[in-house]
Symmetry: C2
Subunit: 379 residues, 2 copies
């Protein structure tokens, strides 16, 4: 019930009854404790939004969540920075903090994450409701149930018990999640997922990731791994990936791979990514070739994913989107070359994401666990 | 309710109540019309099976479907043969008919399919209950909702309205489905799916296909396409696939591709598949190389699929399984090389399938549609 009001509200009781097949009396009964607990109200919490998709025809006391009834913290870990946000109950960002990171050893990162969380807790006390939990998004193989980062090639981590280590220090429930899956949860509950029956979120940047939403739920993988688009064996086998395998998409298409290639072919070993992007925009053929290679492999990977799971919509997101124009054409061409039959009808939608969105995804994961009453979060 | 009794029965009412959260009175009420209609009975229909997984402890009048309360026909179309089965309500095969095919034009095949169905209808009248429908399994891009084979490269078909053409002639509801998806439905309702939370069925033979069961349902694809493992762009780009694309898995791993390769490298243009298999078993290095190449690409494709959707279990099935020993080692090695992290924990299970199983899958699809009351099937 709370899920429905959160993701589809403001929504009148009669509409909930219609969509669930419950009687209106049953809906009223189920909603009462949510109103009493202060999560939900009979009136739109934000009057400016009363003019919503239900039209002007004065909806009969639509139910809406009280946005500031709780607050949530989302943290995103990258090798060079930590990003933290506090959000309200609808994953709306309230505050943002960025912190540089110059040491990726687990101990240091946990320490710095804890400090960042403390800072955000203080800020949240001023602006929002009681904190329900902290979400931490990390790239790689994450065992969310045990709160463990099993292997994050990008961070160089193996078996880091992030949730326990942080929860002990902060006395707040901590949830750890794969970063792309967090983004997918955010899209599912508060983004494109509200309207699409199935979708994929593909992130392009220092890693290539993919979150899948199929048959009514985010795909989590029986062993906690799924959506590893960056580790499909679609590239030539010469290069070894950060994960230790050969032929991964990321060996050609990650921003590091593009930079390395451009440095080699231009003979400029001190070039940085911004410099490589600038060169490519200026038409340097070596730099362009590196982006072309990346676009080709990303397009093939998108086709592989679409041929297997056939989503309605593919959202392309990530820090790499800034250079999107450099590989878009090749990517779309390779996608068209390899998408099978009607699978290729799926829309490729560009969505510019910032690092804040990743942190927001971690917060959305906390909100979902809280609403569902999943441990360690309880209402 | 019928679904549960069909896939989990024999099952006592009290157990249904426990699993569904309904009251026992509600279960009794829901079951009554099923008993009245003759689909379900209070006693095990086949006494020999009373000694079932519920143990000896005298289950309290378990509900079970009456197997012969309905009959179903399943047909599988291949370029060289039609295979037909009649089954009971639990997809148990009652009769089997094979028919050679020497012409794959849609008109001829529809005609021959219709004849085969008529023959099976006659046999079903003798052995089983009233016919509820006919399922037709075809490889390729099938629009099940419209009963249309959109594109079957293997058959050389485009936009063939199989369901309408056959239903008109036979006056029986006809359902058309992708063959691998049909096999997946059979595994979901009457096979490994009863115990696994997620699984993939991978078929190896003249085509390479894949059915996926994720988040409680078979993956159908927003545009009707999914599981096209044989058309992942994982092979070198020199060869053109039957689908017209380059680099598809099938260009190297289909039985035709293996045969073509062996003919070329051995310089024996008249070799047939049985001959190529024999050569490889005798240790001929050219023949072995063709199977090695196939195993390598199939293993990579399995890894790609597992990295994306992370199933609990992969069932390897299909007519190619007879030669399984020739590529198994390479396949497992390539899978191990490219499976990412814990995704590689999924079990690869070999399941020897015959063409009859494909036809049975088509019948299982009819049973599922019937129980769910999906058009064109109604109860």
């Amino acid at each position: 019930m709370l899920t429905r009001i959160l993701t589809q509200g403001p929504i009148p009781r009669v509409e909930i009854a219609r969509r669930t097949g419950l009687s209106q009396a049953a809906v009223t009964k189920a909603v009462a404790p949510l109103i009493e607990a202060g999560f939900v109200t009979d009136q739109p919490a934000v009057p400016a939004e009363a003019d919503n998709q239900l039209g002007i025809g004065r909806p009969v006391s639509p139910l809406t969540v009280i946005r500031n009834s709780v607050s949530v913290i989302g943290l995103k870990v990258t090798p060079t920075a930590l990003i933290g946000v506090t959000t309200d109950f609808t994953a709306g960002i309230l505050t943002v903090r960025h912190q540089k990171l110059d040491d990726t050893t687990p101990d240091t990162v946990i320490e710095r994450l804890t400090d960042l969380a403390k800072e955000l807790i203080k800020s949240a006390e001023v602006t929002a409701g009681p904190l329900i939990g902290i979400g931490v998004a990390v790239s790689g193989d994450v065992d969310a149930r045990r709160g463990l980062v099993r292997h994050s090639p990008l961070m160089g981590w193996r078996d880091v018990a992030v949730a326990d280590l942080m929860a002990k220090r902060l006395k707040v429930p901590v949830v750890v999640t794969n970063d792309v899956r967090a983004l997918t949860v955010a899209e599912h509950w508060f983004g494109v997922g509200v309207d699409a029956d199935s979708f994929a979120v593909v992130t392009i940047g220092s890693g290539i990731g993919c979150g899948l939403y199929i048959n009514g739920e985010v795909v989590s993988g029986a062993y906690g791994v799924s959506g590893e688009l960056g580790h499909l064996p679609l590239a030539p086998g010469e290069l070894v990936c950060t994960c230790g395998r050969r032929g991964c998409v990321e060996t050609v298409a990650s921003s590091d791979a593009i930079l390395t290639r451009t440095r080699e072919t231009t003979g400029r070993p001190r070039l940085d990514l911004a410099g490589a992007i600038k060169l490519a925009h200026e038409g340097d053929e070596h730099a362009r070739e590196a982006f072309d290679r990346a676009g080709e492999v990303i397009g093939s990977a998108l086709a592989a994913m679409v041929n297997l799971v056939g989503p309605e919509l593919v959202v392309i997101a990530g820090e790499g989107v800034a250079e999107y124009d450099l590989y878009e054409e090749r990517m779309r061409q390779a996608f068209a070359d390899h998408a099978f039959g009607a699978a290729g009808n799926c829309r490729l939608m560009l969505r510019s994401h910032t690092f804040d969105d990743w942190a927001r995804g971690a917060a959305a994961t906390v909100i979902r666990s809280y609403v569902r009453g999943e441990p360690p979060l309880q209402r």
